[in-house]
Symmetry: C2
Subunit: 411 residues, 2 copies
C-alpha cells in the first residue's frame, strides 16, 4: 500500500523533493498546508478499492473480451431513491482513487480530494461519488488498480493478451462504467465529471446515454481529437514502439521496454505542464551549468530530475497499456458520429467546461469548440477557465480555483 505513493500523476509533485530552491520549498509548504487544512475541515472515512467483474464484454469495435475486471471506489452514501450519484471519470495516468485515503498513514489523498468530500464542492454529505478504473489503465501492476488490458492474462491462451487485446475506445470505458452503475441500481447520474481523458468519458456519457446523465463537467477536456492532438499523442507512443525490448508487444516473459517507457512518461510529464511552473520548479537549472558544457554525455539538472521522476512513474506502468490509452484518446469523438455536431446532437445534460488557460496539451480551443456545439444545439452550457501556472495540470492541482462554480453547478 505504501508503495502506492510512488505512482499516479501525483508523482509529478514529487519531483519537488529534488528541489532545494526557496521558491519550491514555499510552493510545497503552501500546498501541504492547504491540503492539511482541507483534510482537517472535512476528512472522508478510509477508502477501499472494490472490484467489478463482467464477462463477454463487446467493444465499440465489435470484439469480445471474455473477462473484464475493473476496480472502483465510492465516497458518501447512495440514497434510497438512488438519484444522488456522481460519477468521476479519471485521466490518462490516473485511476479511480479520486479522493480520500486508504490508510490513516497515507501521505497523499486521491487526486481531487480538494473538491470531493464532506462539505466540499462535490459534497459527499449529499452525493454518492463513484469512480471506476478504466480498461487498459496505465498501471496494471499498481496494487490499487484493477484493470483489464494487454498485460492481463487472456483466458483462452493462459498468457498475457499483448497486442491481441482489441483496440478499445473511450466509449468502452463508458460502457464498463455503465455496467457498474447498472449493477448498483442507479438509473440516473446526478453528474458525470472528469479531467482530461476523464472529460472525454464525461462528455461521451452525455452523448451516448442522455437519459442517464443530468449534468456533465468537462475539466481540461476536448470534444474530439483533431489531427494536431492525434499527432501529439503519437509522440507518447513512439518511444515505446521504437524500443527493441517492446518486441511488438511481447515482452511479458522477457525484458520490458523500460527505456522507451521512461522516455514516454517523461514526455507526458513535460507536455502536461507550462513553462511557468517548470521554470519555477527547476529554477536551480540553467543554461550556464558547467557539466553539459564540458561533456556531451552530461545532462542539465532539469533533465536529470525529470528523468528521475519518469523512472518513479514507470514503477507500475505498462508500455502496451499506454499504447492502448494513446489510441483510445486518438480515436475520440464524443458520440462517435461522423462529426462533433452529430455526435453531440442528443445531449440534454447541463454542461460545464473548465479548460485551463495555460494548457499546452489540450488547449482551451478544444473545450470551447464542444461548448459552442452544445450551445448551438440549445443545450445549457457554461464555460470558464482555470488560470494557473501548471498548464494542463491546473485541472488537477488547481481545481479548487473553480470549486465554487462546480458546487453551484451541481446544486
Amino acid at each position: 500500500m505504501q508503495r502506492y505513493l510512488q505512482s499516479q500523476y501525483a508523482s509529478v509533485l514529487r519531483v519537488i523533493k529534488y528541489q532545494h530552491a526557496v521558491t519550491v520549498a514555499l510552493i510545497m509548504c503552501i500546498s501541504m498546508l492547504v491540503a492539511s487544512l482541507a483534510a482537517q475541515a472535512a476528512e472522508l472515512p478510509l477508502v477501499e478499492k472494490q472490484e467489478f467483474q463482467t464477462s463477454n464484454f463487446t467493444t465499440y469495435g465489435g470484439e469480445i473480451i471474455p473477462e473484464v475486471r475493473v476496480g472502483w471506489e465510492a465516497y458518501g452514501e447512495l440514497n434510497e431513491a438512488k438519484d444522488n450519484a456522481i460519477l468521476i471519470t479519471h485521466f490518462f495516468s490516473g485511476n479511480s482513487h479520486a479522493a480520500g485515503r486508504y490508510t490513516a498513514e497515507d501521505a497523499q489523498p486521491g487526486y481531487w480530494d480538494a473538491i470531493i468530500g464532506p462539505g466540499k464542492a462535490i459534497d459527499t454529505n449529499k452525493f454518492y461519488v463513484i469512480s471506476v478504473d478504466t480498461l487498459v489503465n496505465q498501471e496494471p501492476t499498481n496494487p490499487n488498480v484493477i484493470t483489464t488490458g494487454p498485460a492481463t492474462i487472456n483466458p483462452e491462451t493462459g498468457k498475457p493478451w499483448g497486442l491481441d487485446f482489441p483496440v478499445v475506445t473511450i466509449r468502452d470505458f463508458v460502457n464498463v462504467q455503465k455496467l457498474v452503475i447498472d449493477s448498483l441500481g442507479i438509473e440516473k447520474l446526478h453528474a458525470v465529471i472528469g479531467a482530461s481523458m476523464g472529460s472525454l468519458q464525461a462528455l461521451d456519457w452525455a452523448a451516448a446515454y442522455p437519459d442517464r446523465v443530468e449534468r456533465m463537467i468537462s475539466v481540461i477536456g476536448m470534444g474530439e481529437a483533431d489531427p494536431w492532438t492525434i499527432a501529439s499523442l503519437q509522440q507518447w507512443a513512439n518511444p515505446i514502439v521504437n524500443d527493441p525490448n517492446w518486441n511488438d508487444g511481447n515482452y511479458y516473459d522477457g525484458e520490458a521496454p523500460l527505456a522507451g517507457l521512461e522516455q514516454t512518461l517523461g514526455m507526458i510529464t513535460l507536455t502536461a505542464m507550462h513553462p511557468l511552473i517548470i521554470n519555477q520548479l527547476y529554477a536551480d537549472s540553467s543554461a550556464r551549468e558547467e557539466a553539459p558544457l564540458r561533456d556531451i554525455r552530461s545532462n542539465f539538472k532539469v533533465v536529470e530530475q525529470l528523468q528521475a521522476a519518469a523512472k518513479l512513474r514507470a514503477t507500475y506502468a505498462d508500455a502496451n497499456h499506454i499504447l492502448y490509452l494513446v489510441r483510445a484518446n486518438q480515436l475520440f469523438m464524443a458520440g462517435y458520429a461522423e462529426n462533433l455536431e452529430k455526435g453531440l446532437e442528443n445531449v440534454t445534460a447541463k454542461a460545464l467546461f473548465l479548460p485551463a488557460t495555460n494548457d499546452l496539451l489540450l488547449q482551451p480551443y478544444l473545450a470551447k469548440r464542444a461548448h459552442d456545439v452544445l450551445l448551438a444545439h440549445g443545450v445549457a452550457s457554461e464555460y470558464a477557465e482555470i488560470e494557473g501556472p501548471w498548464g494542463h495540470l491546473d485541472g488537477v492541482f488547481n481545481i479548487q480555483l473553480q470549486a465554487d462554480l462546480i458546487q453551484e453547478f451541481l446544486n
Copy 2:
C-alpha cells in the same frame, strides 16, 4: 543538386504533397503564387556555395578543433567602404542558403527569399548579404552544406570525431562567422538577422562584439534557454540516444540510428507548428478513421504523413550533429554571463524582436524578456509579433508579414 530539395526545413512544406484537400491545395497555390510573383519582381543572380577554412579553432569551452571548414553564401555586392554587409544566421535545421537559387531549375529558393533580394526588405541592391553554415550543421552530407562536427574526419585519428568532438556553443558559431567576416575585411556589420537558432547567434553577436554590430533582428528567438526550453529540447535528443544503433555516437562504419533520427525529426516538425496549421494541412485525418480502430498497429493518416516527411528530412541529417545542436541551444545565454542582464549589458546595436504570436516552441515571452532587458539597459529595442497559423514556423514562412518593419528598421 536536385536531391537538395529533399532536405531542410522546407521539407515541412513538402508534406503538402500528401494532401488532397481543397484547403491545402489553395494554401500551396497561394504560396507558390506569392513566391513566383516575388521571384519575377526581383530575382537574385544564381547563388554559389563557397567554402571557408580555418585551423586550430578554440571553442568557448576551451577545446581546440584543428581543422574547421564551413560553407557560406552571399547575395549583392560588398561596397568599397565595406560597410553595407548584413549577416543572416540560420536556424536549427537550416543552412546558409537564405535566398536565391543554385540553378535556374531549382524549384525552391533559399528560405528567406521573400525578404532577401533586389528591392526586397533586405535589399541586395543596397546590401551585401552573407550567411554561413554553422558548426555541427544538421545535414553534414547535404551536398550544399559544408560543416565541421562529429561526422567530420578527425585529422588526428583519420576517423569521424563522434562524441570526441568538443561541445560547441552558439558563441562558437558566432566566432566562426567572425573569422569569415574578418577574412572579407568587413569591420562593421550593418545588421545581424536570424530566425530561431539564428536569432540566438544574432543576439550573441550584439553582446559579444558590440563594436561590430549596428543592428540586430531576432526572429522567433530567445535571450537565454530557460529550464523549460532546456527540457523541451532534450525531447529531441532522447529518441537518438535511446536508439541502440546510436551506439554512444559510434555508428559511422555501421548502421545509423535511423529510427531514432526519424522520430526526432518528426518531433521537431510537429513542435515547430501550431494546431491551426496542422489541422488545416491534415484535415483529411480524423478520430473517425477506421484502420486505427481495427488494428493497434495501424496509424492515423496524419501520423503516417508526418512519418513520411520525417523520413525525407532524414536524408542528409546526422544524429550526432543533432545532439550537438540541441546542446548548443540548451547552453545558450546571450553574452554568456552569469545572467541575461549581465550578458546583454554591453549591447549597443539597435534591436528588433519579432516573435510569432502562436509559437509553442520558443514562446513570445522569451523574446519579450530579452527585449525588456535591453530596454532597461537603455538600448533602442523594438518588439512586434508575427501573427499566423504556423506557430514557430511563422518566422520562416510568414516573415514577409513584417517585411515593411524590417526594411524600415534597416534604413
